[in-house]
Each structure stands twice: as structure tokens, then as C-alpha cells.
């Protein structure tokens, strides 16, 4: 499976979109976009990745997921969120290192159902 950088680079080349035009569309610098495409920077936020995907005619959700998967650390904004949601984030963080494969699958299945429901 290709990572965020390689996917972004190949999609842009296939679409024959110049680095300059893409950078302009995303309101970023050419060097920043080029570095991102070459894995020299941490992938952007999910929101920026969706915007990026739209410019490249890629699936925004899949591309945002790819961006998140390629990050070293994923942060969840919990300020101002309901207490229960904060609990879920904290529980996930606390149990992260000890999740077994079966538990990972259970969680993934449950979250997939939630995401499908949203779609």
C-alpha cells in the first residue's frame, strides 16, 4: 500500500497538475508541497488532506485516513468536547499500548460501523 507522500505525488503527476498550481490551490508554498510529496514532512491535518484530495480527484476520506496513518503521532482535540467523548479518547490512549490484535479488530469493526452509518 502506498503512503501519503507517494500517493499524492503519483496522483498529481497522473493529473498533470504542476507543483506550482497545486500549491496555489492549497494556499501552500511549492517547496512545502514538494517536501510533503517526498515524505520530508509529516502529513497534513485530516482537513488539509481532504482539500488536497479534492485537488487531485482522490477520495477525500481515504486520503485523510492515509495522512493520519502516516503520522507518527495522532492528536485528538478534546477541548470543548462532551465529557463522554473525552473519556473515550482517554481510554483509547490509556489502553493503546496493550491492545491485542483481537481487541484492535473489535474496535476497528465497531468504528467502521459508526463511519458507515455516517456515510
Amino acid at each position: 500500500m502506498l503512503g501519503f507522500a507517494e500517493t499524492a505525488r503519483r496522483a498529481r503527476i497522473a493529473k498533470r497538475l504542476t507543483l506550482r498550481d497545486l500549491a496555489e490551490q492549497l494556499d501552500l508554498s511549492v517547496i512545502y508541497v514538494s517536501d510533503m510529496e517526498n515524505g520530508r514532512r509529516v502529513p497534513p491535518s485530516a482537513e488539509k488532506a481532504r482539500e488536497w484530495a479534492k485537488a487531485l480527484d482522490l477520495d477525500p476520506d481515504e486520503f485523510a485516513m492515509l495522512a493520519l496513518r502516516n503520522k507518527k503521532v495522532i492528536e485528538l482535540p478534546i477541548e470543548g468536547q462532551p465529557e463522554r467523548k473525552k473519556d473515550v479518547a482517554a481510554m483509547l490512549a490509556r489502553s493503546w499500548d496493550s491492545l491485542s490484535e483481537a481487541q484492535q479488530n473489535q474496535l476497528a469493526e465497531a468504528l467502521s460501523k459508526i463511519m458507515e452509518g455516517k456515510a
Binding site: 506550482r20 517547496i31 517526498n38
Partner: protein, 196 residues
């Protein structure tokens, strides 16, 4: 720049480079051979060559002056990294003649030299680097890449067609092929012995 150290590469004659440049045009832009028109070297570098060479990565960054671009096929074995300085890239996208020549020069390194690097380094038979001033022109990779660039941007047959219509005019060559006047003059001098 003649004291600059460069990788030693196989010798190439002007005719050999001219043939390599023709193959390059036939592959990437045969239209430019049919009638005098600027070779779209910016698109070839940014889109077509990476499609053809899956191990080629074109990047835009900041290079220390006076570097305008670098082709590196040594640092990452099996990979070719072409780094264009941001000023060169912007100028190239604006159709600047010097930047177009630089891009075609780097294309020359990719076509003529990149495949020689890994073997040379990993077989241990490689004499690594030499001073440009110690090399005859035909073994100097910078001279080869410059000549390749001239042949790509100013194909011999296309030049003949221009001269037939406009005479040995550097201005006509410069306008029609989007090359600088000095580059046009040098090519006219080499191919036809005189410039109008």
C-alpha cells in the same frame, strides 16, 4: 567551474549525444520534430520522465548558490533524485530560456549518466571523481549534458527547417524554440558555421 570535481562517465561523441537527444524527443515529444516549436521541457521533467522512470523523483527545494539544479543518482542506490532550486522551478514554469536549458541539461544527466552511477560505485571499478579540467570534453558529464540540452532544445533537422525559412537568424531560433540568443548562436555556429 573547471576545477569542479565530477563523476567520471563513459566518453560520448557529439554524434552519439545527438542520437540520444533524438531518441529522447521521439519518446517524449515527437510533435516538436514535425515543425519548429518549443520543446515542453518543463512538462517532460515534471510529468513525463517520472512516468517513464519510476525511480526518478523530482523535487523542488532551496539549493546553495550558484546551484540551480542537481541530479543525484548516487546517494540513494537505485533512485534518481532531481532537485530543482525554487527559483529555477519558477523560472522554468514561466518559460525562462536559461531555466529551460538547465532542465534539459538535467534531463541529459538522467538519460546519459544516471544508469552508470550505481554500477560504477558498487563494482569498485570506479575512479569516482575527477576534476573537469583533467577530462577531455567527451568524457566530461557536464559538457555531455550541455550538448544534450542543446540537441534536445534545438534539434538538427528542426534547425535546418528554421534556417531554410529564416536564414541563419539567432533571433528566429530563439523566438521559435524558446532558447536564449547565446544558445541559439552557438548552435547555429556549430551546425552551419555562421550566424546572421
Amino acid at each position: 567551474m573547471n576545477g569542479m570535481r565530477v563523476p567520471v562517465v563513459s566518453g560520448m561523441s557529439k554524434e552519439g549525444i545527438e542520437r540520444a537527444a533524438l531518441r529522447f524527443l521521439q519518446k517524449y515529444n515527437p510533435e516538436s520534430l514535425a515543425s519548429p516549436s518549443p520543446v515542453p521541457i518543463a512538462d517532460i521533467i515534471e510529468f513525463d520522465m517520472p512516468n517513464e522512470h519510476l525511480n526518478l523523483v523530482v523535487r523542488v527545494g532551496t539549493l546553495p548558490p550558484p546551484l540551480e539544479a542537481i541530479t543525484d543518482s548516487i546517494t540513494r542506490p537505485g533512485m534518481i533524485d532531481l532537485v530543482l532550486d525554487i527559483l529555477t522551478y519558477e523560472a522554468l514554469r514561466d518559460g525562462n530560456c536559461r531555466a529551460r536549458f538547465t532542465a534539459a541539461h538535467e534531463a541529459g544527466h538522467i538519460e546519459l549518466h544516471a544508469h552508470q552511477m550505481p554500477d560504477a560505485f558498487h563494482t569498485g571499478m570506479y575512479q569516482a571523481f575527477a576534476r573537469r579540467s583533467d577530462l577531455p570534453a567527451y568524457r566530461d558529464p557536464e559538457w555531455q549534458a550541455n550538448y544534450f540540452a542543446a540537441c534536445v532544445l534545438m534539434n538538427r533537422e528542426v534547425m535546418k527547417a528554421i534556417v531554410a525559412k529564416h536564414g541563419r537568424s539567432a533571433e528566429a531560433v530563439s523566438d521559435l524554440l524558446q532558447v536564449s540568443l547565446p544558445a541559439a548562436s552557438r548552435r547555429l555556429m556549430y551546425l552551419f558555421g555562421a550566424v546572421k
